[in-house]
C-alpha cells in the first residue's frame, strides 16, 4: 500500500531547480531593513582594556553600534552551560569572538563604521592545541568513562599488544548557505525571527534571554536551511541573537548573513581529537582488551562538546565486541571557536581509533584487515552487549558483510591489487572494507521527544507542522509521505509548513539523525487523533441505513483519497466529503501530536544504560590509487551497502548515504584545517579549504540499501540515515593506508593521521622508502 507513495520527489525539488526556493538571505523585509555586521576579536586571547564606538556611530547610514553594555537581558548564548557571552565584555577567548554589532543601511557602510571602532587589548598567551591544553590542565568538565571487566589485566595477559596515538582533524561544515538570520520587530516586545537554525526552540529561548523578554514574545521560523550538518544546531542561535539585538535597538528589521570567510573564522568545527590507545589480541586477531583515551578540542566554551565526547566514547567499539574495555573521554578548552555538532557527533572520531587499531593488528599478523574485522563483529546471540551494557539487537553486520563481499568482488580484486602493486613502482593501489554500527537517539534522554500540529482544511488539503527542520535531508518530504499514507490521500494534498515555534513548541534540535523517527511518530500521533474523530463521523454516515449489519470502526480504511468499509466496500465516502461532513458536525479537524522515544536511559556515573533506541548498520569497500611520488590519489571504486530499515523514500535515503559518504571522504582526505601560531585560522575560505568536487567522488560509485530489513518500533519500520554513512568514508582512509603500506610491501606500519592529505601520504611513503632501503 505504501509503494505508490514511496517514490515522491523532494517536496522542494521544483523550487530548488527553478530558483524559487526562498532562503533567509533572499527574504526582503522592505526598504527599512538594515544589514547587520558582527565585529569580532582579532586576538585569540586578550583582555579588553577599553574601547570606543562613538566614531563608528557617527557614520552616515549607521543606525546602531552595540557592545555588551547594550544587551537588555542576559549576556549569554551558551546552549547547555551558560559559559558563552553573546558579546565579549572584558576578555576575548578566540579569534572570531563577537564584541560589537553594527546595523547600517548597506554592508559597505557597516564595513566603513567597523574601521572606526577602537579597542585597546592586552594580549595574553593563547592555548591552541590539545597538547598545550593538557599541559595547562584546561579540562572542560569531568571526564566521561565507560569500562567493562578489567582492561588492564586483560591487556597484560594478551598475547600481542599494540599501542599508539591517532590524530583526527577538524572539519568545517561548509554548508553552502552561511549562517543567516533576519529579525523583524513587531509591536512592543514581539519579535519574528527568521533563522537558519536546526533548533528553533533553542533559538527562541536564547533570543528571549538576550532581549530579556518572555519566550511567548518571540517566534522563530525556518522554511529551509541551505545545508547545516550540525553547524546550525547551536551556532545558528548566535546570529539570531545578534540580529535581534540590533532589531531591538533600531526598531527595524535587521538581517545578518555572514560572509563566507567570517563564517569560517567565527564558527566552530568538528572537534579534532588526539587519542591514545592500546589493543590486546591473540594470534587469530581476536581482540581481548582495548584501552583508549579520547581527547577532544572543545574550543573556548562548552557548546555541545560533552555530548559529542560522550558519543565518541559510546562509539569507541564501532561494530566490535571487546570483552575487556576501558574508554576515557576528555574535552579540553582552547582559545579557538567553540567546536560543535557535525554529522556523526563524535562518533566518527571514536570509531577512527579502533578502525586504525584493527588495521594495525592485520598488518602485524600479516592478514587482511577484513578477516580481523569479521572475527570481532558483535555476535547475534552471544558476544552481543556493548561496553555500556546495551544489547546489540537485530544485528545486521553479517548479512551486510556477506552481501557486500560478493557484490564488491572483494577477494578477486584483492588479488588484482596485489598484482598491480607488484608490477608498479610509482603507483600503488589499496583497498579496505569498513563497517559502521551507529546508535540512534539523543544520548541526553529527555531530548527524545517531538511534537506536531496537523490541520485539515475544508477542501480536503492538509497542513503538517512539526518540530523538525529541513536542511536538505528530505525530512519534510518524508513527513508529507507519512501524513499522506496515514490519511490515505495523495501526497499532493499534503503540505509541510515552515517550522515555527508558535505552531509546535518546546521541540528538540533536528539532529542525531532522529528527525524522521521522532517527528514522523508525532505527526502520526496527531493524525491518529484526528482519524479517530473522523471514524466516528464516517461511521455515523455509513450506519444511517445499515441496520442490522452496521459498519465497525476496525473495518474502516483510509486509502486512495476515499474512506470505506472493507467488509462493505459500497459504504464509501470521498475523503474531502468526509471532511466537510465532519465540519458540519462540529468536529475538530486539527490536532497536535506528541512522541517520546520509549525506553531510553543512560547513567553517566556508571557509564551504563540503554542510550539508543536501535542501531543503524552499513559497510563500504573502497579502492584507491595513490601516486607515490606526490601523494595525490583517487578513489577508483566504492561499494556501499547500508541499512535504512524499510526505507520511507529510497531516493532520498540513497541521497543521504552518498552525500554523507562524500562529506566523510572530504574529512578523511583533503579537508585540512590549520591555525597559525597566533590562533588565526589559515584555511578560512574555499580557496584553501577543499571540500570534494565532482571529480573527487569514486569513479565507480555503487550504493545500495539493504533489502528486506524492516526496523521494529519505528515510523513505518524505517531507520535513521543522516549520520551513519558518514563513517563509511573510513574505507577510503584505510584504503589509502593500504596503498601506502604497499610501498614497503606491507612490512612496515605507515605513519598515518586524518585527514590523509597528499602531504601526510607522501611523508609517510618517504619514511617507508627509507626504512625499506
Amino acid at each position: 500500500m505504501e509503494s505508490t507513495q514511496n517514490q515522491i520527489y523532494h517536496d522542494s525539488a521544483i523550487k530548488h531547480v527553478s530558483g524559487k526556493s526562498v532562503y533567509i538571505n533572499d527574504m526582503d523585509a522592505g526598504t527599512q531593513m538594515l544589514y547587520g555586521k558582527v565585529v569580532y576579536s582579532p586576538h585569540a586571547h586578550a583582555k579588553i582594556l577599553s574601547f570606543n564606538i562613538d566614531k563608528a556611530k557617527l557614520v552616515k547610514g549607521v543606525h546602531a553600534v552595540l557592545s555588551y553594555k547594550d544587551i537588555p537581558g542576559l549576556n549569554q548564548m551558551g546552549p547547555v552551560i551558560h559559559d558563552e557571552p553573546c558579546l565579549a565584555e572584558d576578555k576575548v577567548n578566540f579569534i572570531g569572538q563577537a564584541i560589537f554589532l553594527i546595523a547600517a543601511e548597506t554592508m559597505e557602510i557597516a564595513q566603513k563604521a567597523e574601521k572606526l571602532i577602537e579597542v585597546e587589548y592586552e594580549i595574553l598567551k593563547p592555548i591552541l592545541s590539545i597538547e598545550k591544553a593538557i599541559q595547562y590542565n584546561q579540562l572542560l568538565s569531568t571526564p566521561r568513562i565507560i569500562k567493562r571487566c578489567n582492561a588492564d589485566e586483560a591487556m597484560q595477559k594478551a598475547k600481542h599488544r599494540l599501542s599508539g596515538m591517532l590524530k583526527t582533524g577538524a572539519q568545517e561544515h561548509w554548508y553552502l548557505e552561511t549562517q543567516t538570520s533576519l529579525c523583524v520587530p513587531g509591536e512592543m516586545n514581539e519579535y519574528m525571527v527568521y533563522s537558519s537554525t536546526q533548533n528553533p526552540n533553542e533559538t527562541q529561548a536564547i533570543v528571549a534571554e538576550v532581549l530579556g523578554i518572555p519566550r511567548n514574545e518571540v517566534v522563530v521560523e525556518i522554511r529551509r536551511m541551505g545545508g547545516a550538518f550540525g553547524g546550525k544546531e547551536t551556532q545558528g542561535n548566535h546570529v539570531a541573537a545578534w540580529a535581534s539585538l540590533l532589531s531591538y535597538h533600531t526598531r527595524r528589521p535587521v538581517k545578518i548573513h555572514l560572509f563566507r570567510d567570517d563564517d569560517q573564522i567565527m564558527t566552530g568545527k568538528r572537534h579534532r581529537f588526539v587519542s591514545s590507545y592500546e589493543i590486546g589480541f591473540d594470534d587469530d586477531g581476536m581482540i581481548t582488551a582495548y584501552k583508549a583515551e579520547l581527547n577532544s578540542d572543545a574550543g573556548a566554551t562548552a557548546d555541545l562538546s560533552m555530548a559529542i565526547l560522550e558519543r565518541a566514547v559510546l562509539h569507541a567499539d564501532n561494530s566490535y565486541f571487546i570483552p575487556n574495555i576501558s574508554i576515557i573521554g576528555k574535552a579540553w578548552k582552547t582559545n579557538l571557536p567553540s567546536n560543535t555538532a557535525f554529522r556523526g557527533f563524535g562518533g566518527p572520531q571514536g570509531i577512527a581509533v579502533i578502525e586504525n587499531a584493527i588495521d594495525r593488528i592485520a598488518r602485524f599478523l600479516k592478514k587482511d584487515a577484513l578477516e580481523i574485522r569479521y572475527k570481532n563483529f558483535y555476535g547475534i546471540n552471544d558476544r552481543n552487549t556493548t561496553h555500556y551494557d546495551e544489547v546489540v539487537e537485530n544485528n545486521r553486520l553479517y548479512t551486510i558483510y556477506d552481501q557486500l563481499i560478493n557484490s564488491s568482488e572483494y577477494l578477486k580484486r584483492r588479488k588484482e591489487i596485489d598484482d598491480f602493486n607488484a608490477n608498479n613502482e610509482f603507483y600503488k593501489k589499496g583497498m579496505a572494507l569498513t563497517p559502521v554500527k551507529f546508535g540512534i537517539s539523543f544520548t541526553t534522554a529527555f531530548l527524545n521527544q517531538a511534537g506536531a500540529l496537523v490541520n485539515i482544511y475544508l477542501d480536503g488539503t492538509v497542513l503538517v507542522n512539526h518540530g523538525g527542520t529541513e536542511m536538505g535531508q528530505g525530512l519534510h518530504t518524508k513527513m508529507q509521505q507519512i501524513a499522506a499514507i496515514e490519511l490515505g490521500i495523495s501526497p499532493e494534498f499534503v503540505k509541510v509548513n515552515a517550522t515555527n515555534t508558535s505552531k509546535v513548541p518546546n521541540t528538540s534540535a533536528t539532529a542525531a539523525s532522529s528527525g524522521t523517527d521522532m517527528n514522523g511518530m508525532a505527526v502520526k500521533n496527531a493524525i491518529d487523533i484526528i482519524k479517530e474523530r473522523l471514524l466516528t463521523v464516517a461511521l455515523s454516515e455509513f450506519n444511517q441505513k445499515t441496520y442490522p449489519n452496521p459498519s465497525e470502526i476496525k473495518n474502516i480504511v483510509f486509502y486512495n483519497n476515499v474512506v470505506f468499509d472493507k467488509i462493505h466496500p459500497d459504504r464509501i465516502i470521498l475523503f474531502k466529503e468526509l471532511i466537510s461532513k465532519a465540519y458540519l458536525q462540529q468536529v475538530s479537524l486539527s490536532s497536535t501530536g506528541f512522541y517520546k522515544t520509549p525506553n531510553i536511559y543512560f547513567d553517566r556515573e556508571t557509564g551504563k544504560g540503554h542510550p539508543f533506541h536501535y542501531y543503524a548498520f552499513g559497510m563500504a569497500v573502497s579502492e584507491v590509487k595513490v601516486d607515490t611520488l606526490t601523494g595525490q590519489n583517487e578513489v577508483l571504486r566504492t561499494d556501499i551497502l547500508h541499512d535504512t530499515g524499510k526505507s520511507i523514500n529510497e531516493m532520498i535515503d540513497i541521497g543521504q548515504v552518498e552525500g554523507a559518504f562524500v562529506q566523510g571522504l572530504g574529512w578523511v582526505t583533503t579537508e585540512s584545517i590549520k591555525w597559525d601560531k597566533d590562533g588565526r585560522l589559515m584555511n578560512h575560505s574555499p580557496d584553501t579549504y577543499k571540500i570534494p568536487t565532482v571529480n573527487d567522488i569514486p569513479a565507480d560509485f555503487r550504493t545500495a540499501l539493504l533489502k528486506d530489513a524492516p526496523n521494529y518500533n519505528t515510523i513505518h519500520k524505517s531507520k535513521a540515515v543522516g549520520e551513519p554513512p558518514f563513517i563509511l568514508a573510513f574505507s577510503v582512509w584505510l584504503a589509502i593506508k593500504d596503498a601506502i603500506s604497499a610501498v614497503g610491501n606491507h612490512q612496515f606500519e605507515p605513519d598515518f593521521e586524518l585527514p590523509a592529505t597528499n602531504e601526510v601520504i607522501l611523508k609517510s611513503i618517504e619514511k617507508i622508502r627509507l626504512l625499506s632501503k
Binding site: Y9, H10, A13, I14, K15, H16, V17, G19, S21, Y23, E108, Y175, L176, E177, R224, M225, G226, G227, A228, F229, D261, N424, E425, Y427, M471, G472, Q473, D627, L629, T630, G631, Q632, E634, M651, G655, E658, G659, F661, V662, T670, S672, M682, P686, D687, T688, K690, I691, P692, T693, V694, N695, D696, I697, F701, T703, T757, N758, E759, L762, K763
Partner: protein, 488 residues
C-alpha cells in the same frame, strides 16, 4: 576617442541599459550583486564571492565571429557589470516556461528533479546553470565532459552522483530548447548593441571604468591613465574588491577587444592573444602543446577558464601561475605594446619578482609567443595540489629535455611554481644534470641537489618540506614517464 557612456545588454529577453552616472551602482559592481539587488532575480546565490563554489553561476550568451550565439557558464561573483556589455545574461529564472498556464521546466531542471539532484537546494541554481550551458554546448557528453562542466560547482549535500546522472539524461537534444527558438531575436538585439563600436567610459563619482572596444583605444586609455588597473578576465583582480573590499578608482577593461583574442600559427611559433580565454586556449593547444593542455585541464574550473585569460595569468606574475612554468620551458616571449612601439621580452625576464612584471606604465601585454617544440625535445608539465581540481598549485613544474644521441642531457630546463616568490628555474639542478647520462641514478642524484636548491615556505596549503619532497619527486616522475613510459 569618441566615447559612449552606458552599457547595454540583453536581460530577461529585453535590451537593458545601465547609465552609471545615474545609477546607485558603481561600474565594477559584480553581476551577482546586481542580480541579487533585484526582487526578481534572487535565485542566484552567493556561496563564497571568490569563484570557488559556483553557487553564483549564470550563463552568458555572446556572438561569435559568425554571429552565432555561444553559451558560457560564468561565476557572476567575479564579473564586473561592464564585462557583460553586448551580451545576453541568462539566469535560473529564465529557464522555465509557462505553457498553457502550466510550469514547464527546462530538461536540465526536470531531470534534476527526477534524479533527486538537490537536497538543501542552495547550490542548485548554480548547478542547473552549469548544466544548461552543458546542454547547449554538448550532445550526449562523455562523463569527463560532464565532470568538467561541474567542477566549479560545489555541493555539500548530494555527493554529486545524481547530478551527473541528470546531466547524462538531459543533455541529449543537440542543444535544442526554447532558447534555440528565440535565438534570432536575441542575435538581432546583440547586433544592434554591437553596431556601436565606440569605446565606453563609465564615469561614476567613485570610480572611472574604461571599456575600450579596440586595442588602439585601450592603449590610449593606458597612456592617459597610467595608474589605472588593467583587467582582462578580472578573475584575479576582482578578488581585491569581493574579498578585501577595495574600491579600485580606475579600471581599464580589455575583455571586449577582439584583436587580443587571436590564436595564430606561424612557421616556428604559436601566438596566443593576451585576451584569449584559457578555455579557448585549452581547446586550441591540445595537439600542439599537450603539456599546456594538461595544465589547462586542471586550471580553476570551466567558469573560471571561460573568462580568465592567458594575459592575465602572465600579468599577475603569481608564484603559482599555472601557465608560467610551461612558458619558461618553452622559452616563450611576452609581447608588449604602447601607442608607438611593440617589444618582445623573454618570459623569464618579464617576471621580475613577486607579482612584478617588466611592463611599462603605458604598455599592455598583447600576446605570448610560444616557439614550436622541436621533435627531439620533450616538454611536460605537472601540477600538485591538495585537491585534484579547482585548487591552487602547492607545487607546479615544467621540464624540457633534449638528449644527445648518447643519451646524455644536452639541454634541460626545469621551472617551478610554488617554490619561491615567483616562477623560478632550478639552475643548480640543471647544472648538475647537464651532459650527464640520463638514467635513474643521475636523476636520483639530481633530486638531492633539487631538495636543497630552494627554500619554499609553509602556508595554508602545505609545509615547506612537503614542497621540497614533491618538487624533487616530480623530476623522478618526469624521468619515469619518458623512460619507463609509465603513466597511470
Amino acid at each position: 576617442m569618441n566615447n559612449s557612456d552606458k552599457i547595454c545588454f540583453v536581460f530577461d529577453n529585453q535590451l537593458t541599459e545601465i547609465d552609471f552616472t545615474k545609477s546607485e551602482f558603481r561600474p565594477s559592481t559584480t553581476l551577482l550583486n546586481y542580480l541579487r539587488s533585484l526582487p526578481t532575480h534572487k535565485g542566484v546565490k552567493e556561496g563564497c564571492a571568490e569563484g570557488d563554489c559556483g553557487a553564483c553561476t549564470v550563463v552568458i550568451a555572446e556572438l561569435n565571429q559568425q554571429n552565432q550565439l555561444e553559451y558560457k557558464a560564468l561565476d557572476s561573483c567575479l564579473v564586473f557589470l561592464p564585462m557583460i556589455h553586448g551580451k545576453q545574461i541568462i539566469t535560473i529564472e529564465n529557464l522555465e516556461q509557462i505553457v498553457n498556464k502550466e510550469l514547464k521546466l527546462h530538461p536540465v531542471q526536470q531531470l534534476m528533479v527526477e534524479n533527486n539532484g538537490s537536497q538543501c537546494g542552495y547550490c542548485t541554481p548554480g548547478i542547473v546553470m552549469s548544466l544548461f550551458a552543458l546542454f547547449k554546448n554538448h550532445h550526449q557528453p562523455e562523463k569527463e565532459v560532464i565532470e568538467d562542466a561541474l567542477t566549479g560547482n560545489l555541493c555539500r549535500c548530494t555527493g554529486y552522483k545524481p547530478i551527473i546522472e541528470a546531466a547524462e539524461k538531459s543533455c541529449c537534444n543537440h542543444g535544442n530548447d526554447h532558447f534555440t527558438e528565440k535565438q534570432y531575436e536575441i542575435i538581432e538585439m546583440l547586433l544592434s548593441i554591437n553596431e556601436n563600436k565606440k569605446s565606453i567610459s563609465l564615469l561614476h563619482k567613485e570610480q572611472e571604468y574604461f571599456l575600450p572596444l579596440n586595442l588602439k583605444d585601450a592603449l590610449e586609455f593606458k597612456k592617459l591613465y597610467p595608474n589605472a588597473v588593467v583587467i582582462s578576465g578580472a578573475t584575479d583582480t576582482a578578488l581585491r574588491q569581493t574579498k578585501k573590499g577595495e574600491i579600485i578608482p580606475q579600471l581599464i577593461d580589455l575583455s571586449q577587444i577582439e584583436e587580443l583574442k587571436h590564436f595564430t600559427k606561424n612557421n616556428n611559433s604559436i601566438e596566443i592573444g593576451a585576451g584569449l580565454t584559457l578555455e579557448k586556449a585549452k581547446n586550441e593547444v591540445e595537439n600542439i602543446f599537450p603539456a599546456l593542455f594538461d595544465i589547462l585541464k586542471v586550471f580553476g574550473s570551466l567558469q573560471i577558464r571561460n573568462i580568465a585569460t592567458i594575459g592575465g595569468n602572465i600579468g599577475s606574475a603569481s608564484p603559482i601561475g599555472d601557465t608560467l612554468t610551461f612558458l619558461f620551458a618553452c622559452k616563450a616571449f611576452v609581447k608588449l605594446q604602447n601607442l608607438t612601439s611593440v617589444r618582445k621580452v623573454a618570459i623569464e625576464d618579464f617576471i621580475i619578482g613577486y607579482r612584478k612584471t617588466d611592463t611599462n606604465a603605458d604598455e599592455l601585454i598583447t600576446a605570448v609567443e610560444i616557439p614550436l617544440i622541436p621533435e627531439n625535445v620533450i616538454i611536460k608539465s605537472y601540477k600538485v595540489s591538495n585537491r585534484k581540481d579547482l585548487d591552487i598549485s602547492t607545487v607546479s613544474a615544467s621540464f624540457r629535455l633534449q638528449l644527445s644521441n648518447k643519451n646524455s642531457v644536452e639541454e634541460i630546463i626545469i621551472a617551478f611554481g610554488g617554490m619561491a616568490a615567483y616562477t623560478i628555474r632550478a639552475s643548480k639542478t640543471v647544472t648538475y644534470l647537464i651532459d650527464k647520462t640520463w638514467n635513474r641514478n643521475t636523476v636520483e642524484e639530481a633530486m638531492e641537489v633539487l631538495k636543497t636548491e630552494f627554500s619554499p615556505i609553509s602556508d595554508a596549503r602545505a609545509e615547506k618540506d612537503y614542497r621540497a619532497m614533491a618538487a624533487a619527486n616530480l623530476l623522478l616522475k618526469f624521468w619515469s614517464e619518458i623512460s619507463l613510459n609509465q603513466k597511470d
